[in-house]
């Protein structure tokens, strides 16, 4: 299984700018969707797909030995589609069909319609359990693939996340890595105001996970975190990626609760793209 590994920092920076641009353009074209959710995960998915972490082959998307990336926070679909297009699963031109009738780029990921989507998500809280199923599948079949699951911090309020966390910890699923996109906000308010997760690292450790806290927008820290995760044996790993919701677009960053699930308005689009610099 090939890996796409880009050592060139400038090239990785270019990829992050491309993804940010694609996210803003696609959601604006659809006049709906979740750009701010997608923008906070850009560095993590860029390293996953282009920093030599995931083993995948867009021409053979169901290969049994592929690594899996499951986007549990399914409303981040525009971010997932942007990275899948960049990786070559489908032409980047299709990104602007987001949410249109007939397009496989549905509002939330649909695994039956789009190769590269590992789980249909959109009802929050479910992706980690599905990831555990894939991780167990690897041990039954004695394959060495790894499973990466990304959840939101608001999503982590779901009981199922903790059922799954307890199971993965107790069963020492060391081929499983969880990324928590800790952008601090959920739909209507900050996570702290609604249901604080603190101390998130201690909670996960208590559930049997190896935990690392990083700046989720530092390409170096993200890459180092995945290298660390791959080196851990005997326990699943959690990467708490501290991020900014709407990262790269000041309008969306300015009031995350207000801008959740809202595309950049047409009149602000040019300025947003300018800020992104792509």
């Amino acid at each position: 299984m090939p890996k796409a590994r880009t050592e060139d920092a400038a090239e990785l920076e270019r990829i992050t700018r491309t993804l940010r641009r694609d996210i803003v353009i696609a959601t604006s074209a659809a006049a709906s969707g979740h750009p701010s959710t997608s923008l906070s995960m850009v560095e993590v998915v860029s390293i996953l797909f282009f920093g030599g972490v995931l083993r995948y082959d867009p021409k053979d998307p169901h290969n049994r030995e592929r690594d899996r990336f499951i986007l549990s926070k399914g409303h981040g679909a525009p971010g997932l589609y942007a990275v899948l297009a960049e990786a070559g699963y489908f032409p980047a031109d299709d990104l602007t069909t987001l949410r249109r009738l007939g397009s496989p780029l549905e509002g939330h990921p649909n695994m039956c319609r789009l190769p590269g989507v590992e789980a249909s998500t959109g009802s929050l809280g479910q992706g980690l359990s599905v990831g555990i199923g894939h991780a167990l599948g690897a041990s039954i079949d004695e394959l060495d693939y790894r499973v990466y699951v990304m959840v939101g911090d608001g999503e982590s309020e779901q009981g199922q996340i903790w059922e799954a966390a307890m199971y993965a910890g107790n069963h020492s699923l060391d081929n499983l890595t969880l990324i928590i996109d800790r952008n601090g906000y959920q739909q209507t308010d900050s996570v702290k105001n609604i249901q604080s997760l603190d101390p998130l690292d201690k909670k996960l450790e208590a559930f049997g996970w190896a935990v690392r806290d990083i700046d989720g927008h530092s390409l170096d820290e993200v890459r180092a975190a995945f290298e660390w995760a791959q080196s851990i044996t005997g326990s699943p790993q959690a990467i708490i990626a501290n991020t900014v919701k709407g990262k790269g677009v000041s309008l969306l960053e300015s009031d995350p609760a207000k801008w959740h699930g809202k595309p950049v308005p047409e009149e602000d689009k040019d300025r947003a793209l300018e800020e992104i610099g792509a």
Binding site: A119, G133, D141, M166
Partner: protein, 319 residues
């Protein structure tokens, strides 16, 4: 002539859950089969599989949401997961996980809900389901099977494993009388006419099939010839068997161990309504939960008896 509780004979034969558990252990020779449990494998009889194939058995704990999600992931790896718990906990606790992670992505996961219906008895309504068939039928693309007895539960277990696609198999707790013999044919989606008759048709599934046969015997004493159709597959329903019954007999009685809404009765009525007016009557639990009690006391109290079926048959035949 009265056919009350003495004829229900719940002690006879095996339970459908036990027959499922035995058949599942047999099916374990297929290395693709994996079994998942929510800490009830000695109640659901998936323990049989666990004892033989511990490496392909996962007790996920009392966490049904995670249980169903893990099964979906295993299906995504090409495994054939069978998830079993009490029908109540599986369908009600994990309804959204079944919807999102199994039904919508059309994953090949087999869900087996045991302790369904009110015949579980003393444990009471929190452990029973009167609404599970409705919930299972509500998932687009689901196959829903309610076997009548041990032999058909075993056959249904093998049949659902051979058939691609998400499936719900409903099993009960008590021992039930045998309607079939081991080895009788079982085809998903194809009803069995277990007794011929040309005055009235009784369409039933689960434990109500044996009661329907008792009722037909009783009705014959009154000069009424009743056909009994075992509609073990609620979805997809056997439309041609229903149309035949409606054309060849004067009316249809539907009997099920389920509430009035969303189960076999509703499905049969919807199917026959397309064809034109059919005289119908329904035997079910109504719009209520049950209580604790002995299984046969509850069946009597909630109107699931051969007598109730005979009454319903007389109603549809009255002009």
């Amino acid at each position: 002539m009265s056919f009350g509780i003495s004829r229900i004979q719940l002690e006879e034969g095996t339970s459908t859950r036990e027959a499922f558990g035995e058949a599942l252990a047999q099916a374990g020779s297929n290395l693709n089969v994996v079994v998942l449990d929510g800490d009830v494998n000695n109640s659901t009889f998936t323990k049989n599989f666990k004892d033989e194939y511990p490496d392909r058995f996962f007790n996920v704990g009392i966490a049904e949401s995670n249980l169903v999600g893990v099964a979906a992931g295993l299906a995504g790896c090409g495994k054939l997961p069978v998830v079993s718990s009490f029908s109540a906990f599986l369908l009600c606790n994990a309804y959204d996980q079944i919807r999102m992670s199994v039904a919508f992505p059309n994953q090949n996961v087999k869900l087996v809900g045991t302790h369904a219906g009110i015949s579980i008895g003393e444990d009471g309504p929190s452990q029973m389901t009167v609404e599970d068939v409705a919930l299972a039928c509500s998932f687009p693309g689901f196959t829903v099977i309610v076997p009548a007895d041990g032999p058909s539960a075993a056959a249904a277990t093998h049949a659902m494993l051979e058939r691609e696609g998400p499936t719900f198999l409903r099993c009960g707790r008590p021992k039930v009388p045998n309607v079939y013999e081991n080895g009788d044919a079982f085809l998903v989606g194809k009803a069995n006419t277990v007794r011929d008759g040309d005055d009235v048709t009784i369409v039933a599934n689960g434990i109500m099939v044996a009661m329907a046969l008792d009722a037909a015997e009783g009705l014959s004493g009154e000069g009424i010839s009743a056909r009994v159709v075992d509609m073990h597959t609620v979805k997809p329903i056997d439309t041609s068997a229903l149309e035949k019954a409606a054309n060849e007999t004067k009316g249809v009685v539907v009997a099920e161990e389920h509430m009035a809404y969303g189960g076999l009765g509703a499905t049969v009525a919807m199917t026959l309504a397309e064809r034109g007016p059919t005289r119908m009557a329904f035997v079910n639990i109504g719009d209520t939960y049950a209580t604790s009690g002995k299984p046969d006391e509850l069946l009597l109290q909630f109107g699931l008896t051969p007598d109730a079926i005979m009454d319903a048959a007389r109603r549809v035949l009255k002009d």
